[in-house]
């Protein structure tokens, strides 16, 4: 059996190289892997491509990585007016931004997860989102071609993991986490609780173990910013 449980946050992120493409789960303050982000930032990683709905709040969530100028490229749907450090870095041209509609961000990640090579959508047609993208008419509708978004790592947050990596999420802290878990080569999850194998009923597993590569229990920052 593969051993997925890591004894510390630092070990769980120890090998993520500079320049990595990393997905970060979370939405609206809920379901952010805040402790993994702290560990990653403290390690002094740089030149990250971050894929995330938003760009943090001040020092909170991803904000920390912008504060320390560790992100070069962002793919996001709603960076957020309160993402002060991100906005500063963007104004200083220290970070590049690709804005993606939120549902399309999900679908592009899911396409990568599902081994699809691209899809057509009406979302974004005629807007700046369509710039540089192939456009065609399908059954009378103008569509653009959207490409998969894959990542080297996904940092996600779950409520419980069993030792195999089956996950559950609490309430609306689910959000992007299950999608990102599927779309990265290596998925690292911080959880509130590690439970014995078999403790999660098979019908209630929300992310099957096949998508989870490293598990670490985090007692620390649950909500940030």
């Amino acid at each position: 059996m593969a051993h997925k449980v890591y004894s510390s946050l630092d070990l769980a992120v120890a090998d993520i190289p500079d320049g990595a493409r990393i997905m970060f789960g979370g939405f609206g303050g809920a379901g952010f892997p805040n402790n993994l982000i702290q560990a990653l930032s403290q390690r002094g990683i740089k030149d990250v491509t971050a894929i995330s709905n938003n760009c943090g709040t001040k020092d909170g969530e991803l904000g920390l990585m912008f504060k320390h100028n560790q992100v070069r490229h962002v793919i996001a749907s709603f960076p957020g007016p309160h993402a002060h450090y991100f906005q500063e870095r963007l104004a200083a041209k220290e970070v590049a931004l690709e804005l993606v509609p939120q549902g399309i961000l999900c679908e592009r990640m899911r396409a990568a997860a599902a081994g699809l090579q691209g899809f057509y959508t009406t979302v974004g047609v005629g807007t700046e989102v369509a710039n540089g993208k192939e456009e065609r008419v399908i059954e009378g509708k103008r569509c653009i071609l959207e490409m998969p978004i894959h990542a080297d790592y996904a940092l996600i947050k779950a409520e419980k993991a069993d030792e195999l990596g089956n996950l559950t999420y609490r309430l609306a802290a689910r959000n992007f986490n299950p999608i990102m878990a599927m779309a990265a080569t290596t998925t690292i999850v911080e959880v509130e609780e590690i439970v014995p194998i078999g403790a999660i009923p098979p019908e209630h597993v929300l992310t099957p173990a096949i998508f989870v590569h490293r598990i670490v229990q985090a007692k620390g920052i649950r909500y940030a910013g």
Partner: protein, 224 residues
Amino acid sequence: MPDKPRLTREQIAQRAALELPDGAYVNLGWGIPNLIADHLPKNVQVYFHSENGILGMGRRAKPGEEDLDLVDAMKVPVTLISGASFFHQADAHLMTRGGHLDVAVLGGFQVSEKGDLANWKVPGAKGSGGIGGAMDIAAGAKKLLVCMEHTTKEGAPKIVRQCTYPLTSLSCVDTVITDLAVIDVQPGGLMLREIAPGWSFDEVQKLTGAPLMTLGRPPEIKLD
């Protein structure tokens, strides 16, 4: 005209609430739309969808009742109604984009006479701007309402022939509810359906950047 009373933001929300049929699945966007939930008629039960993966959102959480894992798309702690469900964000937007929502209500900066919507970015504003779920919602809702003031703070029309602000989605708006009028986007143009009390068609037309049509004398905006 400037000192003639217009509908308040709460009244716009109150009017918009009447557009939600019993049993409808509904997504409410930022701004005025977010006030609608408080104005639902007593005999109407609608199911609120949030793009972070909730169906069956209830009222906002009271002080002491907040759970930070249970927030709406605006990061506001909310409650659930009985029969609610959670799902991941891809399924949440499968619902928005796939035509599963009966009604979505968004705020707007501009609406064109063809129903184009601009609501995510003010030209020249500082910062990155952000799209969020608006483009998926606008593209997919069975019925899209826009709630906004009829004119900008400077008095310029927000209903226009062609949007000059960055677009959210083309030909997506069905009805615009403002502090002066209820206007349907029809194939032939903009149909003024109701008008604010004390305002004439010509007065509203003057504050509108695209030609309005009307069938006879438009009735006053109903609020209940």
